[in-house]
């Protein structure tokens, strides 16, 4: 009798609670999914002799690794930086460890693919000001487990 009662309390009750918790959880809103690879293009190609042209090509890739609101951005294939940042609503802000690159962008979800538009600021190239770019997530990629180096 004691075992049956214990079984009902220790197994039955949590099982019921489990259903209630799952129902409650369905109302939660997690951050927007942005993980994956984005193909980015600068709005205006930098002058070949400028400081920013040494750091950025007119086209580059942004690889985003997302864990909830936390983001790691790898700028590669035309850029080279690792940034850490956050997503809040549809706004992404990130910067690298030594604060030399600052990244701000807005995500726009669309049926034809997700788009990103924003700015990059390079502290060592102050004369370039903020550099505008647009990016498109034109292929579905999962948040990468093993980051490419």
């Amino acid at each position: 009798m004691r075992t049956v009662l214990s079984y009902l309390i220790l197994v039955g009750l949590p099982l019921l609670g489990l259903v209630a918790v799952i129902e409650k959880g369905k109302a939660l809103h997690p951050p927007m999914a942005v993980g994956g690879d984005w193909k980015a293009e600068l709005d205006q190609a930098p002058d070949g002799a400028s400081c920013s042209s040494r750091r950025l090509s007119p086209a580059f890739t942004i690889q985003m690794v997302q864990s909830g609101t936390q983001l790691t951005l790898l700028l590669k294939e035309g850029a080279d930086a690792e940034l850490r940042g956050k997503i809040s609503s549809a706004r992404i802000s990130a910067r690298d460890r030594d604060l030399s690159v600052e990244f701000q962008a807005e995500v726009e979800k669309g049926e034809r693919g997700d788009r990103l538009s924003g700015t990059l600021s390079l502290s060592e190239c102050r004369e370039s000001g903020t550099i505008r770019f647009a990016a498109v997530k034109n292929f579905q990629t999962r948040p990468l487990a093993v980051r490419e180096r």
Partner: protein, 415 residues
């Protein structure tokens, strides 16, 4: 990719696994804990951090698919061995103690894992994952017990024939089967939304396949055991048939949309459990799988684990929370249940400690979760830390809670 890179990788992984395993054995830890730690050391958490150029040269991203394929073969064979070790009579023999302990040690951590998901989902997940999938996966990951590691610890500590040994091994067997069934359901739900087979086809196909294996193929397997008995050994032909069955079953479950590992586990679980047959098969496969192939899996897991990504107090708080909830749910739940069935608090606590061992089964589950995209890379890292902590704490806690002097054989206790 050059074969030389792959050979270099395998060599380095084996050296790291054996050395770390040896060090951990000196610390009275099972070899496998050291091998798990070796994987972390070879990844971005250590090698990639202290010698990034060496790491990039030895583990270039394009080479990892070859290592991944080898480790998948290793995991498929390992899951077969896990299934092979399961003995349904264990549960029958231990009766109500094992039933209550196992069910409570599944349901309580699962409930707490799902409850924790309410807090973690908005913080560590995103809107590409539904709450249901996230919560069910977290619940399953929290309720895992590493049956093979548990069996090794019990054997090494000469606890297998004690009351706590027999209750915990029987409970872990039930836990394993239940966790894999729930996990298969989660994988099925996630993959059905990805444009694969329709959900009803996967469910009906999976049920039909399990029935075919349990009621059909199992009888054929008995013939294989008979052949082994007649010949007195497992010859090459017999082994080839069993390997084909394992790979074939893994292929079917992968095609059905549940994971290849379930198929391999199922073949092991329905294998006849005649001791000489099981020992012979285990002997033929275990060394290559455990010594050569599993360390590759640990290394790949380590390459995906970046402890450096757990940056800042907030992320470490989540990590402590995950580990704490896992320990409270599993250790606490199993301890209370075992005590209710009549065991002393000391014995019940020892069972709780043993059931709390997550080991490499947890790593297998976490890799599936990461692969299907239901957990994020940072949460993956936190759960790997939790698996390491819960496995590492088992032997010292067990020796403290249940020292040699207090151990009695099961028969004596039952009498």
């Amino acid at each position: 990719m050059h074969v030389s890179t792959l050979l270099l990788q395998i060599g380095l992984i084996l050296v790291a696994a054996r050395l770390t395993g040896l060090i951990f054995r000196k610390l009275h830890q099972p070899q496998v804990v050291g091998e798990m730690a070796a994987g972390i050391l070879l990844g971005p958490s250590f090698l990639g951090s202290v010698a990034p150029h060496v790491s990039a040269a030895v583990f270039p991203p394009e080479s990892l698919s070859h290592l991944g394929a080898l480790s998948q073969i290793g995991l498929i064979l390992f899951m077969f061995l896990v299934g092979l070790e399961l003995k349904p009579q264990l549960l029958r023999e231990k009766g109500e103690a094992a039933v209550l302990t196992s069910h409570v040690s599944i349901v309580i951590p699962m409930f707490l894992g799902i409850l924790l998901s309410i807090y973690l989902y908005p913080r560590l997940s995103d809107d590409s994952v539904s709450f249901l999938h996230f919560a069910l996966f977290m619940g399953t990951a929290m309720s895992i017990t590493a049956f093979p590691v548990l069996a090794r610890i019990l054997t090494e500590r000469k606890l297998l024939k004690t009351e706590i040994g027999s209750v915990s091994i029987a409970s872990a067997a039930v836990d394993d089967v239940t966790a894999w069934c729930v996990l298969a359901g989660v994988v099925l739900m996630v993959r059905s939304g990805e444009g694969g087979l329709p959900l009803w086809v996967t469910i009906a196909g999976s049920l039909a396949y399990v029935c075919l294996m349990v009621f059909g193929v199992r009888h054929l397997l008995k013939k294989l055991a008979d052949a082994h008995r007649r010949q007195g050994r497992t010859n090459g032909g017999l082994l080839a048939v069993i390997l084909l069955l394992i790979l074939g079953s893994a292929w079917v479950t992968e095609k059905l949309g549940i994971h290849a590992l379930f198929g391999a586990f199922l073949v092991g679980a329905i294998m006849p459990k005649e001791e000489s047959f099981v020992n012979s098969l285990t002997g033929k496969m275990q060394d290559v799988v455990v010594v050569l192939l599993l360390p590759l899996f640990f290394a790949l897991t380590g390459l995906k684990t970046n402890i450096g990504s757990i940056a800042g107090a907030e992320m470490w708080f989540y990590c402590f929370l995950v580990t704490g909830v896992a320990i409270v749910g599993k250790l606490g739940g199993a301890t209370i249940a075992a005590h209710i069935t009549g065991l002393s608090w000391r014995q019940a606590g020892a069972i709780g400690v043993l059931m709390n061992t997550r080991g490499l089964i947890q790593l297998v589950v976490l890799n599936i979760g990461l692969e299907i995209g239901v957990i994020s890379p940072d949460l993956f890292t936190m759960m790997v830390i939790m698996a390491l902590v819960t496995t590492f704490m088992t032997t010292p806690l067990l020796d403290w809670l249940y020292p040699q002097s207090t151990r009695k054989p099961a028969a004596e206790l039952v009498a």
